[in-house]
C-alpha cells in the first residue's frame, strides 16, 4: 500500500557540509517529517517541499564561504525551485551560499573580533509574517547558538534601506530583553542582522543554528519555531 506524505524536507549535502546530519536528524526524529538528503552532484530535488542548505564548511570555506558550493549542479535546481516560489532555508554556511548565489542580497565579512564564535546568542524576531517564522510573535526573543567565522553581514546602504522598507530583516542579534546594541551585536553585522528573507518571502537565510536549539537537553528549544513554522506553512 502506498502512503501519501504531503510534506518532505530535502537537506543538501555539499562536500564539507557538517550540519547535514544534525538538521536531518532533528527534522526526522523531533518533528517526524519525511526528510531526504540531496547530493550536490545531482540535479534531483526529489520532490522536496522545502530545501534546506545546512551549516558547515562547503569546500572548506576556501576562497570565500559558499563561493564554490554555489556552482554545484544541485544549486542550479535549487535556484529554479526558489524562483518558482519553493521554500528554501539556508542555515549558517547555507546562508552564505544563498548570498553568493544571489538569491539573497549582501555578503558576509569576518566577525568583528576576527575570531570564530561558538556561543548562544539572543535573537529578536523582527518579522513573524514569513513561512519560516509565522508561529512566532513580533519582538519575541529566541535563544539559539551561532558557530561561524564569517557571519558579519554587510550590504551597501541602498540594499540595507531596501531590506528595511520591505521588512526583509527577520532576525537581529539582541539581549534577553530584545534590546539591540553594539555589545549584543556579537559579530559586527550591519544593523545587527542575523537573518533575512528575499522580497518574494520564500527564501530565508540565518546565521544561528535552529537545529542546535530543538531539544531541551541542549539548553534551548527556541529553534523549533523555525521548523514548526515551515511545517505549518506547507500543511496549509
Amino acid at each position: 500500500m502506498r502512503v501519501w506524505i504531503t510534506l518532505k524536507f530535502g537537506v543538501v549535502i555539499f562536500p564539507g557540509s557538517n550540519c547535514d546530519y544534525d538538521t536531518y536528524n532533528v527534522l526526522r526524529d523531533i518533528f517526524e517529517q519525511k526528510t531526504v538528503f540531496l547530493w550536490h552532484k545531482d540535479h534531483d530535488l526529489k520532490k522536496a517541499d522545502c530545501v534546506i542548505l545546512p551549516g558547515g564548511f562547503s569546500y572548506g570555506d576556501y576562497l570565500r564561504s559558499g563561493a564554490i558550493a554555489k556552482f554545484s549542479p544541485i544549486m542550479q535546481e535549487v535556484k529554479e525551485f526558489a524562483l518558482k516560489g519553493g521554500l528554501v532555508l539556508g542555515i549558517c554556511n547555507g546562508f552564505q551560499i544563498l548570498l553568493e548565489l544571489g538569491l539573497l542580497p549582501g555578503a558576509m565579512l569576518r566577525n568583528k573580533n576576527l575570531k570564530f564564535l561558538c556561543q548562544f546568542v539572543h535573537l529578536k524576531l523582527e518579522n513573524e509574517r514569513t513561512p519560516f517564522t509565522l508561529k512566532g510573535k513580533k519582538g519575541q526573543v529566541l535563544k539559539i547558538p551561532i558557530a561561524h567565522y564569517e557571519g558579519n553581514y554587510f550590504a551597501p546602504p541602498d540594499i540595507i534601506r531596501e531590506l528595511k522598507t520591505n521588512n526583509q530583516v527577520v532576525f537581529r542579534y539582541s539581549d534577553t530583553q530584545g534590546r539591540i546594541n553594539e555589545e549584543t551585536n556579537v559579530n559586527g553585522s550591519l544593523d545587527s542582522i542575523a537573518g533575512i528573507i528575499n522580497k518574494k518571502g520564500n527564501v530565508m537565510g540565518m546565521m544561528p543554528h535552529p537545529e542546535r536549539a530543538s531539544e531541551e537537553l541542549f539548553g534551548s528549544e527556541d529553534g523549533r519555531l523555525v521548523f514548526e513554522s515551515i511545517v505549518k506553512t506547507i500543511e496549509n
Binding site: P15, G16, N18, C19, Y21, D22, N25, V26, G55, G56, F57, Y59, G60, D61, Y62, N113, L114, K115, F116, L117, C118, Q119, P145, A147, Y149, H209, E211, R212, E215, L217, F218, G219
Partner: protein
C-alpha cells in the same frame, strides 16, 4: 657509504647502525637507513619508555583493544565501543603555531577513524609560557586558531580541554590533542596486510616533500641550531580530511577491505611496515605509482614524507573497483601502489629497480630497547622545602588576584573559538568539570575530561602521577559518570638525562598505581620526550584523558549552584597543605613545597559517595576542589549558576586560613543539596566512612566566607566574576 655524519643526521648511534647491519646482513642504502631512522626514532619505537610503560594496567573486561594499535577501544555495551587516543604536537606547534596545532588535530582524527569509528569529540590540553611575553601570546593565539580552524571545518566538536601557564613552557609549549570516536563493536578495523596479492591502495592527498625528518625532528632536542632543524612544516587541509573521513567510513560499512592505516609521522614507511609486521606478511610497492605533488622526488623523500591527509588501505582483491568508486564519489583517488606478499619483507621499487628490501620485523619490532639510567634529581630536596609565608591581611584582595591568574581564569576565550556543539550531542558544554556527550538514541551518555598538573609532578612526581588520574576521575564523578578507560600523553625532557628519566619512571608509577585502585585500564597514549630548549626542560607533564559513562543522562549534574536556600556540603577533609599551590605561585611567586598528598582509597570513597548521591537524585550541583582550593571552588559554583547565586559559608577547621581557603588538598567535592535531603546524604556518607560537612547555604549576591566566626571573604559575586571572566580576553584585546 654511510659515515658518522650521516648517522648523526639520522639520529642513529653507531651501535644502532651496527645492529641494523647485523639484522639485515649488509649495509643499508640511504633510503633504507632513512626508514630505520624513522622507525627506530624515539617517537615511533618508544625505545626509552617501553620498559616503564609496561607498568600500566592495560586489561579489563571491557577492553577490546589496549595499547599497540592506532587507538584504544572500550566496549560500552549495546553493540557500541568508544575509540580514543591522545597525541602530542609540541615541536611543530612551537615552530608554526597555527599549522602545527591544526595538523595535530588532523593526525589524531585519522588515528580514530582509521579504526572504523566516527570521531564525535576532540579535547585539547595546552601549556604555554606566561602571557606577559608577546611571544607566548602569539603562540597561544596561533595554536588556538589552528585547532579551531581544523576541528570546526571538519565538523568534530572540541568539547573540552585544559590550559596551564608556566615559565617552563615559554620555549616549549605543549599541544596535546585527544579524540574520541564511536564504532559498532562488529565493525572495527585494524592495521592489517593479509591475503597474498591483495592490493595496497593509496588514498588522500598527494605526497610532497613535507616534514621529511619530521618524525626524527620530534625526537631531537632543540639547541642553538633551531633554525637548521626547522623543517618545512606541513599545512593542514581539513577539507581534504573531511572527504577522506567520509569516504573511509563509507568503505567500512561494506565488506571491501582487510586493513587500513593512517599515514602520520613516518608516512608510507610506517604504514606499510607496521601493517605487514602486524600480519606476519610482506608488502611490495612501486613508488612510481605514488601520487606526487612535486617534481623529481627521490625514493628517500617519498618514503619519509609526512604529507598530511593520506591513508593506506589493503583491499580485498575482487573489491578494488568498488573501493575506487566510493572514493571517486568523494572526489578522491584510490591508487593501487602495490600488493601483499608472503615473504615478511618491505620491498620498494622505483624506476624498475628495487630500492628497499628489508625484513619488516627488523624495522618494526627489533629496535633496541633502552633501560636508561635514572637518578634522583638534585633540585628536588630544595624545591620541596617551603619556609612559612606571612598570613595575608585582606583575603578579598588575595581571592581577586588568584581569580585573575591566567591558569585559574575562565577559558571561554579559548573554547568559544571551537565549535563545541556541532553534531548536536554536547549535553554539558565546556566550562564544567567534564564534558558530557549524548549517545544518539541511548539513555547512557559519555563524559570526558583531560587533566594534568605539572607543578605537582615537578615537586613530587609519583604523587603528581596519582593526582592526575584521581582528579580526572573526580571530575567525572562530579558530572555523574564512572570512569571506563584511560589514555595518557607523557610530556618530558631529554630521556638521556638520568634526572628526567627518574621523573618519568616515578610519574608512570603514580599513574599506574592510581589506575589500579580505580580499576581502569590504560588503552593507549603517547610519549613526547625532548621537550627542552637549551637544556631547560619542561616540568614533567603527564596529561591524562579519561572516558566515563553516565548510566542515565537524566542524572547528569553540573557544577553551578541551582537555587537559593540550598545547603552547601563539603565532601572530604580540609587539610593544611599549601605547597605547590596556585596561591603560592600567584601571590608569592613561589613554585615550591610538597605537592598535596593523596590517599587513593579515600579518594575513591569520596567519588563513590558523590556518584551514589547523584544516582539517587539528591544533588543539585557538584564541583571538585582543585587549583585555587576551596575558595575558588565556591566562587566557580557561584559563577556557573545561571543567576550568579551567592553563598554564605562558615568554616570551623583549626588550620591556617590561607591554607584552608587556597590549599589544594585532594579528595574534596563541594555539592549543593535541598535541605530535606541533607540527612540522607550524611547517612550515605557515614555508611562509606566519608566525611561530609554542611558548611553553609546558597543565596544572596555575595560570596561570603567565615572562618572561626570571623568574616574573611565578602565580595559581590558579580565583581569577583569580572576578574575571573575578563583576564584572558583582556590579554588579547585588539585596541
Amino acid at each position: 657509504m654511510i659515515d658518522k655524519k650521516i648517522l648523526e643526521e639520522h639520529n642513529l648511534t653507531v651501535e644502532e647502525y651496527e645492529r641494523i647491519v647485523q639484522l639485515i646482513g649488509r649495509e643499508p642504502n640511504i633510503t633504507e637507513l632513512g626508514i630505520f631512522s624513522l622507525m627506530w626514532s624515539e617517537h615511533c619505537s618508544y625505545k626509552s619508555s617501553k620498559i616503564h610503560l609496561k607498568k600500566f594496567p592495560t586489561s579489563g573486561k571491557n577492553v577490546i583493544q589496549g595499547p599497540g594499535e592506532n587507538a584504544g577501544i572500550i566496549d560500552i555495551g549495546e553493540g557500541l565501543a568508544v575509540v580514543f587516543k591522545i597525541e602530542s604536537h609540541n615541536h611543530p606547534s612551537f615552530i608554526e603555531p597555527f599549522q602545527g596545532a591544526a595538523t595535530g588535530v588532523g593526525g589524531i582524527l585519522r588515528d580514530i577513524f582509521t579504526m572504523g569509528a566516527r570521531p564525535i569529540a576532540l579535547l585539547d590540553s595546552l601549556r604555554f609560557g606566561p602571557l606577559t611575553k608577546s611571544k607566548n601570546k602569539a603562540i597561544m593565539d596561533g595554536v588556538v586558531s589552528g585547532i579551531s580552524a581544523y576541528g570546526n571545518s571538519i565538523g568534530i566538536p572540541t568539547v573540552g580541554g585544559d590550559v596551564y601557564f608556566n615559565q617552563c613552557y615559554s620555549m616549549n609549549p605543549l599541544v596535546n590533542v585527544f579524540c574520541l570516536g564511536i564504532a559498532k563493536t562488529d565493525k572495527i578495523f585494524y592495521a592489517r596486510a593479509e591475503g597474498e596479492k591483495n592490493p595496497v591502495l593509496y588514498v588522500g592527498a598527494k605526497t610532497g616533500r613535507d616534514g621529511i625528518h619530521g618524525a626524527t625532528m620530534a625526537s631531537a632536542e632543540f639547541g642553538e641550531d633551531l633554525e637548521e632543524k626547522r623543517p618545512n612544516v606541513q599545512v593542514g587541509d581539513p577539507f581534504k580530511e573531511k572527504l577522506l573521513l567520509e569516504a573511509c567510513l563509507e568503505v567500512m560499512t561494506k565488506d571491501l577491505i582487510v586493513g587500513i592505516q593512517d599515514m602520520g609521522a613516518a608516512g608510507l614507511t610506517c604504514s606499510t611496515s607496521e601493517m605487514a609486521a602486524k600480519s606476519g606478511s610482506g608488502i611490495i610497492i612501486d613508488l612510481d605509482l605514488v601520487p606526487q605533488r612535486e617534481e623529481g622526488m627521490t625514493p628517500y623523500e617519498i618514503m619519509l614524507s609526512e604529507s598530511q591527509e593520506r591513508m593506506l588501505i589493503v583491499a580485498k582483491k575482487e573489491k578494488e573497483e568498488e573501493v575506487k568508486r566510493i572514493f571517486a564519489k568523494w572526489d578522491l583517488d584510490a591508487v593501487p601502489i602495490g600488493y601483499v606478499t608472503k615473504r615478511e619483507k618491505l620491498q620498494v621499487k622505483s624506476k624498475g629497480e628495487t630500492v628497499v628490501d628489508l625484513p619488516v620485523e627488523a624495522i618494526v619490532n627489533l629496535c633496541p630497547v633502552y633501560k636508561r639510567e635514572n637518578r634522583f634529581p638534585s633540585y628536588l630536596k630544595k624545591a620541596q622545602k617551603l619556609d612559612p609565608v606571612p598570613l595575608p591581611e585582606n583575603y578579598n584582595h588575595i581571592l581577586k588576584k588568584i581569580l585573575s591568574s591566567a591558569t585559574i581564569a575562565d577559558k571561554e576565550w579559548v573554547y568559544r573559538q571551537y565549535d563545541h556543539m556541532v553534531q548536536t550531542n554536547t549535553a554539558l558544554l565546556p566550562g564544567a568539570d567534564a564534558s558530557v556527550l549524548r549517545i544518539e538514541g541511548k539513555r547512557k551518555a559519555l563524559a570526558i575530561t583531560i587533566d594534568g598538573n605539572s607543578l605537582y609532578a615537578y615537586l613530587d612526581p609519583i604523587t603528581g602521577g596519582k593526582i592526575a588520574v584521581a582528579e580526572a576521575c573526580r571530575n567525572l564523578s562530579c558530572v555523574g559518570a564512572h570512569p571506563v578507560g584511560v589514555t595518557n600523553c607523557l610530556n618530558f625532557g631529554n630521556p638521556e638525562k638520568p634526572e628526567i628519566m627518574w621523573q618519568f619512571k616515578e610519574v608512570i608509577e603514580g599513574i599506574a598505581q592510581a589506575c589500579k585502585v580505580f580499576n581502569i585500564p590504560i588503552t593507549g597514549g603517547n610519549v613526547s620526550f625532548y621537550n627542552e630548549t637549551e637544556g631547560e626542560a619542561v616540568y614533567p607533564t603527564p596529561v591524562i584523558g579519561i572516558v566515563g559513562i553516565i548510566e542515565d543522562i537524566a542524572h547528569m549534574i553540573s557544577p553551578g549552584f541551582k537555587e537559593k536556600g540550598n545547603a552547601v556540603v563539603l565532601i572530604g577533609k580540609n587539610k593544611q597543605e599549601i605547597g605547590a599551590s596556585e596561591y603560592l605561585k600567584s601571590i608569592f611567586k613561589l613554585e615550591r613545597g610538597l605537592s598535596p598528598q593523596i590517599d587513593l582509597e579515600e579518594e575513591k570513597k569520596v567519588q563513590e559517595l558523590c556518584l551514589e548521591a547523584m544516582s539517587q537524585g539528591i544533588l543539585q550541583s557538584a564541583h571538585d576542589i582543585s587549583e585555587g582550593g576551596l575558595a575558588l571552588c565556591l566562587a566557580e559554583s557561584c559563577f556557573l549558576s545561571r543567576q550568579k547565586i551567592g553563598c554564605c559559608i562558615d568554616l570551623k577547621d583549626p588550620i591556617r586560613t590561607d591554607a584552608l581557603l587556597f590549599g589544594e588538598s585532594q579528595s574534596r567535592i563541594i555539592v549543593s543539596i535541598r535541605s530535606q535531603n541533607i540527612e540522607h546524604l550524611l547517612i550515605l556518607a557515614q555508611e562509606r566512612k566519608v566525611k561530609a560537612t554542611v558548611i553553609g547555604e546558597t543565596g544572596g549576591e555575595g560570596l561570603i566566607i567565615h572562618h572561626l566566626n570571623k568574616e574573611i571573604i565578602n565580595i559581590p559575586v558579580e565583581e569577583a566574576y569580572k576578574f575571573w571572566k575578563e583576564t584572558i580576553p583582556g590579554v588579547f584585546k585588539i585596541k
